[in-house]
């Protein structure tokens, strides 16, 4: 038990420290990791959207998936499974991405932003906690996407294999890809460093079951602070790292890749929190599970990717200038769809059967 707790804390510290290092090596500010931003950049690199400032194949994503795959395989935990409402998961993934690109970050980047002194992210955190609260309300009333079943080995291998293919493409044929020449997409750590960073975090997150939603969810639901300690460890490590690197700047204005619209930062992360609880884990956790052979999580990740492409093709994503009106409408629709999915999947459970 204690070893598990130590592993969660170690994972948190490693995630925080590596994130600060990635920024020092070239990633955008407070964006050592961002599952939402990096999947969006990767979607852009293969031309799924044409927002020229956010196109790059992020090796961190590839590393996270392959790190989890390697660790799961080594630990005999690679277990291809799926069939738990895949299209619903795709839709929830799409909606979560709409919320994340309103706020400009997944829950992990929200933590990194807090650790960089970005107070807008505290507003996002309030929305995130509120969204998790709404998700718990649904869970307590019997929300479920039903169970998964075993699927073929090949089904489980395909997504990790696709990540190997993306890495090969990035290294061997970058001319085929779209790369930003300015903006956040042009800012990145060297490929090897980013890949190793992703692998390290993928390995640790698989082993420790690290999840940015679980910390707050389990504390509220079960008074279990096991994962919350990891959540706090990330933020503490990032604050210390940024203080050492001289990149801790407290305030609302002028934060890197962020805007100051409090209402929409709140609502964006509310959608992310609610959607993530319904999905059973945060965007990072979905990536890790996709490396473990959970094909429902693969479908969820595809929902993230397609959602990101739509957000940039239809100008729904925020920028440093603030949200767009289309993005505001999309978040409201996303909340409505997510709420409808939540209520439609509430099963009136009878008492535990004899």
């Amino acid at each position: 038990m204690q070893n598990n707790k130590l592993l969660v804390v170690l994972t948190g510290i490693a995630v925080g420290a590596i994130a600060v290092a990635l920024v020092a090596l070239g990633n955008p500010g407070n964006m050592g990791f961002c599952i939402a931003c990096f999947l969006r950049d990767t979607a852009g690199a293969v031309g799924l959207h044409r927002a020229e400032v956010v196109q790059y194949v992020r090796p961190e994503i590839i590393g996270l998936v392959l790190g989890a795959f390697i660790m799961a395989f080594a630990g005999k935990e690679f277990s291809p499974r799926g069939g738990s409402a895949p299209v619903t998961r795709f839709t929830l993934g799409f909606c979560v991405m709409v919320g994340a690109l309103m706020f400009l970050g997944c829950p992990l980047r929200m933590m990194l932003r807090i650790g960089g002194g970005d107070l807008n992210a505290l507003v996002g955190l309030a929305g995130f906690v509120a969204g998790i609260g709404c998700g718990i309300f649904c869970l307590n009333r019997g929300f479920t996407l039903k169970r998964t079943y075993s699927v073929s080995k090949l089904d489980g291998y395909l997504y990790p294999a696709a990540n190997v293919a993306m890495l090969a493409l990035l290294c061997a044929a970058p001319a085929l890809l779209f790369f930003s020449e300015s903006g956040p997409g042009s800012m990145h750590a060297p490929i090897a460093a980013a890949l190793i960073a992703g692998l390290a975090v993928g390995v640790l997150a698989q082993k420790s079951r690290f999840c940015t939603v679980a910390g707050i969810r389990d504390t509220i639901l079960f008074k279990d602070t096991h994962m919350l300690i990891g959540f706090i460890a990330v933020i503490a490590a990032v604050i210390i790292g940024n203080l050492i690197m001289g990149s801790f700047h407290i305030g609302f204005e002028g934060q890197p890749v962020a805007h100051t619209d409090g209402l929409w930062n709140f609502l964006g992360m509310l959608l992310v929190g609610l959607g993530s609880v319904l999905l059973g884990g945060c965007p990072l956790r979905q990536l890790i599970l996709s490396g473990e052979g959970n094909v429902d999580s693969v479908v969820t990740v595809l929902g993230f990717v397609v959602g990101a492409a739509f957000c940039h093709n239809f100008k729904l994503a925020s920028s440093g200038d603030g949200p767009t009106s289309g993005g505001q409408i999309a978040v409201i629709i996303g909340l409505a769809i997510t709420a409808a999915i939540a209520f439609a999947n509430i099963q009136r459970e009878t008492k535990a059967k004899a």
Partner: protein
Amino acid sequence: MDKIIVDARGCACPEPVLKTKRAVASGAEVLTVLVDNNTAVENVKRFAASKGYQADVTQEGGDFHIELKK
């Protein structure tokens, strides 16, 4: 009293723990929780320990049987 069996195989987080919590809340002092992955085993065991239950895990094929006893 019939033995309480909680079948949480294939369920996403946090459903295995939630189902266990419901069974515990209904007064079960001896129950078996069925799950099919290590994460769920760890989570159910942690919850059970916090409620004062002893856990005994056996593996059968791809499934885990967690016997909980107060």
